[in-house]
């Protein structure tokens, strides 16, 4: 009896959490005439909405957004891994990274606008990449991962004459694959999901998919089919990557919270 209540609660929760996804997938295939007639419960099936996305410039935005977010993530991993290694080797700056973790870019829109203007990045796609080439979050997650590595391995490699680069690339990299993937996916998602930052820092030509989609809602507030098709296709890449590595991500994240 007690367990029945528990299962019921979890079932309701799962339903509530997935409902927006189910609706998105359903509405994307609704024929436009059914949406306008308000008869969304009548069954219909069409690819009309997906075809309508191309003239709105959806595909270009998608590729561009994948590119900038991917590049920023790659750079964040490249700078983050050695930084986490340095922290694990006792560099006394962990507090600084934790502090910066608490203050994300979207909270610093105003001063960042000034900094970007000063560095001539304002208005160019690089404004979406360079400031994110280092991520306190990535550093922290990788640092937590390195803490669980038995350090004798590193010391043994050093005795065998390995330099710091070799230790990082040959010894620690294979052991940290799970953490690197997790940090990568989460950093990618964080970058991908910025809305106001790209909106403010770049002109419309360089808007990311997020900003473009927020604008589409204002342009066609009642064309649910079109909006849902854009939402569905814009969600799939990230959801796919997540589902691919889901087990690893949840385990790694949970593990790094324990320490």
């Amino acid at each position: 009896m007690k367990n029945l209540a528990r299962h019921l609660f979890v079932g309701l929760l799962v339903f509530a959490v997935t409902l927006p996804f189910l609706w998105m997938a359903y509405a994307a295939f609704l024929p436009p005439e059914l949406v306008y007639a308000g008869e969304i419960t009548r069954l219909g099936f069409s690819f009309e909405n997906f075809r309508a996305l191309a003239p709105e410039g959806f595909w270009g935005r998608l590729v561009y957004s994948l590119g900038v977010s991917g590049l920023a993530t790659l750079l964040a991993l490249l700078t983050g891994f050695p930084a986490a290694y340095a922290l694990r080797e006792g560099a006394p700056l962990l507090g600084l990274y934790l502090f910066l973790l608490a203050v994300p870019a979207e909270m610093l829109l105003v001063p960042l606008y000034g900094v970007l203007a000063g560095t001539h990045l304002l208005g160019s796609p690089w404004a979406l990449v360079v400031p994110f080439a280092a991520s306190p979050f990535v550093v922290f997650l990788l640092y937590q991962g390195l803490r669980s590595v038995p350090w004798q391995v590193v010391e043994a490699a050093r005795i065998d004459g390995a330099g710091e680069g070799v230790v990082l690339a040959r010894v620690l990299l294979p052991m940290m694959a799970g953490h690197l993937v997790t940090a990568g996916v989460l950093a990618f998602a964080a970058h991908w999901n910025m809305v106001l930052y790209p909106r403010v820092m770049t002109p419309e030509t360089w808007w990311t998919l997020q900003v473009w989609m927020a604008d589409l809602v204002r342009k066609y507030p009642s064309d649910w089919g079109l909006l849902s098709a854009a939402a569905l296709l814009g969600t799939l890449p990230l959801a796919g990557v997540y589902l691919l590595f889901e087990r690893k991500i949840v385990e790694t994240f949970e593990g790094s919270l324990k320490g």
């Binding site: 700078t79 203050v103 001063p111 280092a134 106001l196 919270l257």
Partner: protein
């Protein structure tokens, strides 16, 4: 203790250069900007503390501060309570891992796509959910009066709840993972000892499990405060601060003043208030939980 620099510390260099310019320097800049009258395009003009004086006399600012605190008071306790309840409900169930993975998904997927889905699903009167409810329950039946999607496009209270629900939906997965990780860290022997001593399950929960979850709850409070006070992107996507400014949280106020009215100096002064509020509250909570 004297610090001995090691060659490995060089690894910090690239990361620190980027963070110094785009993470730390903005803190200097924001203080400087807050003394300017500046549109972002024109040449800035030094005005001293005028922005702060104006801010303190601005009813829109005070209203926005009140909205922010109300939003935090609605969102934070429900976030922590739900995280605890869900983590307990999932503990040890066959579907535990599966559900946790699912709960994590809303926080990762495309933010504006999620907002689109919520917007079309939950629009009052014509939204998909309302249409579906009216199909299941005829509009003129007495039951239908209870199955109405609240008019959040007209009532500030419901709009705020909508943004709060959206925020919870996105971050619940994180909260559950934090509590769950901490639950798994509790040594089983400790609970067994309590049972041997004759504790009922309720007592074991009250005197063993919950006190051991305190660090996790502290962590959630601090992170939750930061997330709540900055979650104005959801406001931008769902309500644009409306209706009647009912969801204009401080972060959104700053965005509007800075980038729609082009008063960057004034926005910088408001940013400082938001930063002090966020860091101050997070710090106070961490201290408070440590002392108790």
């Amino acid at each position: 203790m004297r610090l001995r620099p090691k060659p490995a510390w060089l690894g910090l260099a690239p990361s620190l250069v980027v963070l110094a310019v785009f993470g730390l320097y903005p803190f200097v800049e924001v203080v400087r900007f807050s003394t300017w009258d500046w549109s972002g395009l024109s040449a800035p003009e030094y005005v001293g503390l005028a922005n702060y004086r104006e801010l303190l006399a601005d009813p829109a600012f005070w209203h926005s501060l009140r909205v922010t605190l109300t939003f935090a008071l609605v969102t934070l306790p429900s976030f922590i309570l739900l995280s605890l309840v869900v983590a307990f409900a999932l503990e040890g169930q066959p579907y535990e891992r599966w559900v946790k993975g699912l709960l994590f998904l809303p926080g990762l997927v495309t933010l504006s796509a999620a907002a689109v889905s919520w917007y079309t699903l939950l629009s009052p009167e014509y939204g998909a959910l309302q249409t579906l409810l009216y199909t299941l329950v005829p509009e003129d039946s007495p039951l239908a009066a209870w199955l109405v999607v609240p008019a959040w496009d007209r009532e500030p209270f419901w709009a705020l709840l909508l943004v709060a629900a959206f925020t919870l939906w996105r971050y619940l997965g994180y909260g559950v993972l934090v509590v769950s990780a901490s639950l798994k860290g509790i040594p089983r022997t400790l609970l067994e000892a309590a049972w041997v001593d004759g504790a009922t399950p309720r007592q074991a929960l009250r005197y063993v499990t919950l006190p051991l979850l305190r660090p996790a709850v502290t962590f959630l409070l601090v992170v939750g405060t930061i997330l709540t006070l900055q979650s104005y992107v959801a406001v931008f996507l769902l309500t644009r601060g409306g209706p009647f400014g009912g969801t204009r949280v401080l972060g959104y106020f700053i965005y509007e003043v800075g980038f729609e009215q082009y008063r960057l100096g004034y926005a910088a002064a408001a940013t400082i208030v938001l930063l002090v509020l966020t860091l101050g509250l997070a710090y106070a909570q961490a201290r408070f939980m440590e002392e108790r």
